[in-house]
């Protein structure tokens, strides 16, 4: 037997049930059930979201790696370029410091005219201590002109071409420079050697030479101008049976690190060869 309700009554019953459920829910009677459902829903949502992100990552990461690699390459290239610039600038700072020191030296010694030059090479033979500089006869450089740095005497021009010159260092074995000891005003000869060491010879036995004495050019012989700093005495050898004393000299200039030099262009070396007496027939 089937019980049938009129449609309007059904609607009223459903509405009442719905209102009752809403009222129960608002009254907090469904809290355990709603929290259970919501937790279930959140967990399900989390699971789906996590899987989605994993799949999305899987599908998109290769593209990101490629773009990151490209970006990384670009940045590495930029870093390399900046490092090159840093090295270049450091080099320029070093050069500027050296040139600044040379300018100070030129200002402190206004009696001479100078031409600055870079050392661009060394003599191919290990027996010779010569350097090659990047200025020559076109810049007014002539053989015999003295070469200095802010630290002191370097040598003199040995040979010249249009745009370069070869400089014989004072440390060369064939170099001989007339010098004087500043403290005792004693004349002596400065010689180079095959090892690049400097030594003083022809010092009078009566002269008082002590370690630390400053050695300057004397200007005798006409090859170098006077009063250019050469170095300091580091040891003295005085033997009673020898005619002269000898001394070892520590040069003021570091000849292994010559980068820039000054050529004194208004000093004309004097050739005293005709004045040297030769034995008669």
């Amino acid at each position: 037997m089937k019980i049938s309700f009129p449609r309007s009554l059904q609607t009223v019953i459903i509405a009442l049930v719905a209102i009752g459920l809403v009222a129960l829910a608002l009254g907090g009677y469904f809290n355990p059930a709603t929290s259970w459902f919501s937790r279930l829903a959140v967990e399900a949502q989390t699971w789906i979201s996590t899987r989605y992100l994993a799949v999305a990552d899987f599908l998109t990461v290769p593209r990101d790696v490629a773009s990151l690699r490209q970006r990384n390459n670009e940045l590495e290239a930029e870093v390399a370029q900046l490092q090159t610039q840093v090295i270049d600038l450091q080099q320029k700072v070093t050069e500027t410091n050296i040139l600044s020191a040379l300018v100070d030296f030129a200002r402190a010694n206004p009696a001479y005219s100078y031409k600055a030059a870079a050392v661009i090479g060394r003599d191919p033979s290990p027996f010779l201590r010569y350097v090659i500089i990047n200025i020559g006869s076109n810049q007014g450089v002539l053989p015999g002109m003295p070469v200095v740095t802010d630290k002191g005497l370097v040598g003199r021009v040995d040979a010249v071409i249009a745009e370069a010159a070869r400089v014989q260092l004072v440390t060369d074995a064939a170099s001989a420079v007339d010098v004087r000891l500043q403290s005792s005003d004693t004349e002596a000869m400065l010689f180079g050697s095959v090892t690049g060491d400097l030594s003083l010879d022809m010092i009078s036995q009566n002269a008082k030479v002590t370690v630390g004495d400053v050695v300057l050019t004397s200007g005798l012989g006409g090859s170098y101008p006077p009063n250019l700093l050469v170095g300091q005495v580091v040891s003295v050898r005085k033997l009673a049976y020898e005619l002269f004393q000898q001394a070892a000299i520590q040069p003021n200039v570091d000849f292994t690190r010559l980068g820039f030099v000054l050529v004194i262009t208004n000093f004309a070396p004097v050739d005293i060869t005709p004045l040297i007496a030769t034995p008669g027939p």
């Binding site: 090479g121 060394r122 191919p124 290990p126 027996f127 070869r166 074995a173 090892t195 292994t256």
Partner: protein, 168 residues
Amino acid sequence: MRRGILVAIPVLGLAIMLQSSIIGRITLLNGSADLVLLVLAAWGLQERVKSAWICGFAAGLVVGFVSGVPWYIYLVGYLVLVGMSRILAHRVWQAPLLAMFTVTLIGTLVLLMLTYFERSLFEVSLAFNLSFVQIILPSILLNMLLAIPVHALIRDLANRLYPAEMVR
């Protein structure tokens, strides 16, 4: 031969510049390597190379001009070196490195002894013991060390210029 000269002259020019600007600054005691000598030795030891004499002559003149040593010293020294390397190229061809070491040793010794005697006789008296210990021996050692890479490079260059004929 023309192709060999066209390649060898720039290589030697580069070697002279490197020698003057870099290699000459790298010293052991007071000796230094001679890159030009090594290039000439290695070039002369390549059997198919025909331009070794011309290269030796040109390098001798240029280095003699650059150096404070009289020009004929390098000219003679390098020509002796090329002569030795040409002789050994035909006789010790199965041991090219041995030939390179031999030419380097004797060539360096000849060149430095020539320089020593020229300076001692005409310019300034040099103590032989000091010169030998401080300059000649270290220079020989440095040249021997550089001989292997230079020989390898020059051999590759020569092989590219003068490829060996295919044997069927």
